[in-house]
């Protein structure tokens, strides 16, 4: 039961994303801005979902109603129609807005902490679990005697020694 609950807790975010993500992804593009070719439009949307809206900062340009996001959506579509590859479109925006515009930033020295923190946190947690398990497997060493107990023990010792002598 506990294992089942743990697996459920771990999988919950993925399940939530699968349920919520498709609904919000298509919310904003104005039908008039859409490309005629559905394949190109699909590419534009996939690209746009990876481009940060610089104004709202926590949404992609496909999800944002801000004027600048719309301008960037149109630019993505223009570049696609002009024959740019996905990488060329991304480079175009990256040259102007830097790493921050990419919701999936490249791995560099300055983004290393961003990429590695989850891994480090996961390893730390796994380490803690392993450590506590190993400790639980071994019986805990008895607690050291308190002063009071030591005194009583010494008194008992002395008593038995005296008794033996008698």
């Amino acid at each position: 039961m506990r294992k089942f609950l743990l697996a459920f807790a771990l999988l919950l975010p993925f399940a939530a994303e699968a349920i919520i993500a498709p609904r919000v992804a298509y919310a904003t593009t104005n039908p008039a801005d859409m490309l005629r070719d559905p394949a190109q439009e699909e590419r534009a949307r996939a690209l746009g979902r990876e481009i940060r809206c610089m104004v709202c900062q926590n949404q992609s340009i496909e999800d944002s109603e801000v004027a600048l996001a719309r301008d960037l959506r149109l630019i993505v579509r223009e570049r696609i129609v002009a024959g740019d590859s996905d990488a060329q479109v991304r480079d175009f925006l990256h040259a102007r807005y830097g790493d921050f515009v990419l919701l999936r930033p490249p791995f560099t020295w300055s983004t290393a902490a961003l990429w590695l923190t989850p891994v480090v946190a996961l390893m730390f947690g796994a380490g803690l679990i392993l450590l506590s398990r190993r400790r639980a497997a071994q019986p805990a060493p008895p607690a050291p005697l308190t002063e009071e107990e030591k005194r009583r023990l010494a008194a008992l010792d002395a008593e038995t020694r005296d008794g033996n002598r008698a």
């Binding site: 610089m54 900062q57 004027a67 040259a95 830097g98």
Partner: protein, 187 residues
């Protein structure tokens, strides 16, 4: 586990929370003093020439429009300021631009996504600090600069290389603490 290590472990969460609180307070304080902008994003254009462009003048403003070639003055640093009449922080910033212009710093203005009549009304009412004033109604040149809001100000050195970008209004503090020293350094 000895009682002292147990006590230490018990204290650890409180110590972590206290450290977080101090850091948070410091960040808020820096924000309040205008030293730190949490939404600020470094420009990708620092160290590069301005993107290639030519923009038309704002008619009746009495000054010319400009393009990338006009930004290589050879004489000293200059500022490129994106603004709009619909932008409230631009009103806060305007007195500082006026002061810079009185001090002889060339300020080149670009009216971003603004109706020319509104831009004109703005400078008639608040004064014109701009040595050149162009309009970017579609906002496409602004995207080539990596602009994400107005006002935004770029400092270019005498070779026309972008050295500094500030997103937000140039307040008195920004002028004194950041811009003045930079203008001196690139003079």
């Amino acid at each position: 586990m000895t009682p002292s290590t147990r006590r230490l472990l018990l204290m650890a969460p409180f110590a972590a929370a206290a450290a977080g609180g101090v850091a948070f307070y410091a960040a808020l304080d820096r924000q309040r003093r205008g030293v730190y902008n949490p939404r600020g994003v470094p420009s990708a254009l620092i160290g590069q020439h301005a993107p290639d462009f030519t923009l038309p003048a704002l008619e009746e403003s009495g000054v010319e429009g400009f393009g990338a070639a006009d930004l290589r003055s050879g004489a000293g640093p200059l500022l490129v300021n994106f603004w709009a009449s619909w932008c409230v922080p631009c009103i806060i910033e305007h007195p500082q631009l006026m002061r810079l212009s009185r001090d002889g710093v060339p300020v080149f203005g670009i009216a971003y996504k603004d109706k020319p009549a509104d831009s004109l009304q703005f400078i008639r009412r608040h004064g014109n600090p701009f040595r050149r004033l162009a309009k970017d109604e579609p906002g496409r040149v602004a995207i080539d600069w990596g602009l994400y809001g107005v006002p935004e100000t770029y400092l270019l050195d005498r070779q026309g290389i972008i050295r500094w970008r500030y997103a937000g209004p140039i307040t008195d503090e920004v002028l004194a603490q950041d811009l003045r020293p930079l203008l001196q350094r690139y003079a």
